[in-house]
């Protein structure tokens, strides 16, 4: 945690850390299974450190997304922006079940994953505003963020899934006991290339965890109106599947651990459906209320919010104090403010960058442009 002072008041915990329960066991929802002997255990153990870390990460994602919303409305972020708030438990739970050396690829609702995979809030926000400090040098924007072992950030729906299988093949081939987590949404689940990928992954027993983040709406279309079968965890057919409560970080973690074990033991791919929910609309252009009611959103917020759920669990088991969690909140807010400040003041990428990174060039090549006499140079 970063050093900070909150105005003139310094927050002091009322209890010493020795008073807190070091770990506790929680009941988690049973997962529906498809072609699997058994699902993950019905109880999950959470240590205090883990709890605080999950809380901090989820809170960071939540505040970062809300800040992005704010900046978007101020027109500092432009273009497209798909926010992840409500679904934090998915990103954090998945990361808790795998290692940083494993691989992950997802679609465009990627800010959360960019963070859990090692990106910093500063880099992410600067990428949203299109500045040179951004994680993709300002050239990608919201939908195209990448870090080590995180392959984005992909705009075309469903196109990332075959890619994920390819990464899984490389993992298997190189024999480093790594796997690839390949995410897509309920809308993408109807794309043809997903089924092509299921076939290839299963045929060649690739260590690939397919995860369908079912947030009940493909943009504005509810799952019932888009899919002949909404049992997304069964749609892998010959691939074993699990349906998981995506609002509970522990449930996601346990399921991911099971899935990772399955892949690493050479059994081939596995499919997980995370039942989750997004509070914002599909993107910032979508108010999100023309195809669902405000009541529905409110209900999910009050009954199943992932951060509240974790907080309640920790507090009721004396694993943390209210002040301690508040302290984390304050620190997170400060981090986001700093990042937003950086994102708004960092300069835009230089014009030379327009033509860089088209090809791998050695030596530099010329790029033809709007007029025959104006050629730009691509130097990388």
């Amino acid at each position: 945690s970063r050093k900070m002072t909150v105005g003139a008041r310094v927050v002091v915990s009322a209890r010493t850390y020795a008073d807190f329960t070091p770990q506790a066991s929680f009941d988690i929802k049973k997962c529906d299974v498809h072609k699997l002997e058994e699902g993950p255990p019905l109880q999950a153990v959470l240590t205090r450190e883990e709890g605080l870390q999950y809380y901090r990460t989820m809170q960071t994602i939540r505040r970062m997304e809300l800040k992005a919303d704010q900046l978007y409305k101020q027109k500092i972020i432009r273009g497209f922006c798909h926010l992840y708030d409500g679904q934090e438990a998915c990103a954090v739970g998945i990361e808790a079940g795998i290692n940083l050396s494993d691989h992950l690829i997802t679609a465009y609702r990627a800010h959360g994953y960019t963070l859990t995979r090692g990106g910093t809030v500063r880099e992410i926000m600067a990428e949203l505003t299109g500045r040179r400090g951004g994680i993709a040098k300002g050239k990608g924007g919201s939908m195209h963020m990448y870090t080590k072992h995180f392959y984005g950030g992909n705009g075309i729906v469903g196109a990332q899934v075959p890619l994920g299988a390819g990464v899984a093949l490389a993992c298997k081939y190189l024999g480093k006991n790594e796997l690839c987590v390949c995410l897509y949404g309920d809308g993408a689940a109807n794309q043809g290339q997903i089924f092509e990928t299921y076939n290839m992954a299963s045929l060649w027993k690739l260590p690939c965890i397919f995860i369908c983040e079912n947030n009940k709406y493909g943009m504005g279309t509810s799952v019932e109106r888009a899919a002949a079968s909404t049992d997304y965890y069964k749609r892998g057919d010959f691939i074993p599947g699990l349906r998981v409560d995506g609002m509970d970080v522990l449930c996601v973690r346990e399921a991911t651990k099971l899935a990772a074990e399955h892949c690493r033991s050479g059994k081939g791919p596995i499919l997980m459906e995370l039942q989750t929910y997004r509070y914002h609309g599909h993107s910032m252009s979508d108010p999100g209320i023309s195809y669902r009611t405000r009541d529905e959103i409110q209900e999910v917020r009050s009954k199943s919010d992932p951060i509240s759920m974790l907080k309640d669990r920790m507090l009721s088991n004396n694993m943390a104090s209210v002040e301690e969690l508040k302290e984390i909140d304050v620190e997170v807010r400060k981090e986001i403010e700093d990042a937003a400040q950086f994102a708004t003041t960092d300069p835009e990428p230089p014009l030379d960058d327009l033509c860089n990174h088209i090809f791998y060039n050695d030596p530099p090549m010329e790029v033809r442009g709007t007029n025959p006499w104006t050629k730009l140079k691509s130097i990388s």
Partner: protein, 395 residues
């Protein structure tokens, strides 16, 4: 395919336009719109203060056509709705399908049609472009007038195989026993100010390389309705690209009855004697300003041609014009290498070699993916075109 709901909310007005087919366009400009109007760009301002709010062109409406009956004020998406309305009314086999078309479409091109004609004629498809076009081909072969919508031209690529390998070759490979001429594919097209990589593309050049299909791009509402109705009536599979930046920006008096504008006929918008300008879609309006600038600042008289149909294109009109003027400038947003200007350029130099006073100029996008932050530098705006005009005149 990526989907972005109501992308037009971003562009100009945030207030939903109550678009009934007999209502007026417009609606009130929201506060967002007012903010846009206040901050008009100053080209001499420092780059820091530059904001990309206003478009890179000014839209000049065409005069209301007199020969097609009563007209009504409509913008581009309403003109499209009107064309589709006429089609569904007159042709009982016509069906419209695509992602989100039932509620009216992300650009409001199909508003009200489902209520008027029923959910068996206007229906949503799941998220599957390859499936949409394949399905459309089948429906057309079986005798239905199938009008498929691909939500953004950037997403048309999963359907590329179906269009190029199936739709385009159906009549040919069956020796005219079967055809899918009743298929029309409509798709929003072109740059929009902040569309970035996957909401700004102009893929006409990819399809121009494929005999068997027709490609059409209108420049405004009157053209859009007439050309779309021609595409639907045409007995060949057609792709109709609609410039998304013009959906709300372009407002004209459009005839309410059905009418057709012939395909494969380029339109000479302005006669001139010194230089021929050729473009299609949004770029026509950019070149209109260039022609005005050329006249005012250089005393150069430009002939402006809207190509309208990309494939098969009207070689005669363009060549006749170049024979007269001796100079040709072709402009499009798509990258220059392999863009359609290359085809025009090559054909014209074959036909009119001895008439050329200067090399043919292509003012197009750079050979990079369509950038987000760099868009104002990327697009072939009027200054770049004007520079090209100057060089050609002084050659």
């Amino acid at each position: 395919a990526l989907t972005a709901m109501a992308a037009t909310r971003l562009f100009l007005s945030a207030s939903p336009v109550k678009s009934s087919l007999t209502g007026l366009t417009g609606g009130t400009r929201s506060s967002l719109g007012l903010t846009l109007l206040k901050r008009s760009p100053d080209r001499t301002a420092e780059p820091k203060a530059q904001r990309r709010h206003a478009a890179h062109f000014t839209y000049h409406p065409d005069p209301a056509p007199a020969q097609y009956g009563p007209t009504q004020k409509m913008n581009l998406f309403q003109a499209v709705t009107s064309a589709l309305d006429n089609t569904l009314a007159g042709d009982p086999t016509a069906v419209i399908f695509g992602e989100d078309v039932a509620f009216g479409g992300v650009f409001r091109c199909t508003v009200g049609l489902r209520d008027k004609y029923g959910k068996d004629r206007v229906f949503n498809t799941p998220l599957c472009e390859q499936g949409i076009v394949g399905f459309g081909i089948g429906a057309a072969v079986a005798g239905a007038t199938a009008i498929a919508e691909i939500q953004f031209a950037d997403y048309i690529y999963p359907a590329f195989d179906q269009i190029v390998n199936e739709a385009a070759k159906y009549r040919y490979r069956s020796g005219n026993l079967f055809d899918c001429g009743k298929l029309t594919i409509r798709s929003p097209w072109g740059c929009v100010g902040h569309g970035s990589i996957y909401h700004s593309q102009s893929p006409e050049a990819f399809f121009a390389h494929c005999p068997g299909i027709k490609i059409v791009v209108p420049r405004g509402p009157v053209q859009a309705k007439g050309l779309l109705l021609s595409c639907i009536a045409d007995q060949n599979p057609c792709i109709f690209f609609e410039p998304k930046i013009l959906y709300r920006a372009a407002v004209e008096q459009v005839p309410t009855e059905a009418y057709q504008i012939p395909l494969s006929q380029a339109e000479v918008l302005q006669e001139g004697s010194d230089l021929t300008l050729v473009a299609w879609g949004t770029q026509v309006h950019v070149l209109r300003e260039v022609a005005a600038m050329a006249q005012e600042k250089l005393g150069v008289s430009c002939e402006l041609i809207d190509l309208q149909t990309i494939l098969p294109w009207d070689t005669e009109t363009v060549c006749k014009s170049v024979v007269k003027t001796g100079r040709l400038l072709v402009s499009h947003e798509a990258p220059v290498t392999g863009g359609f200007a290359a085809e025009i350029s090559s054909t014209v130099q074959e036909e009119c070699f001895l008439n050329l006073e200067a090399p043919i100029s292509r003012v197009c996008g750079y050979d990079t993916p369509f950038p987000h932050i760099f868009e104002p530098f990327y697009i072939p705006d009027k200054w770049k075109c004007f520079e090209a005009v100057k060089r050609m005149i002084n050659y």
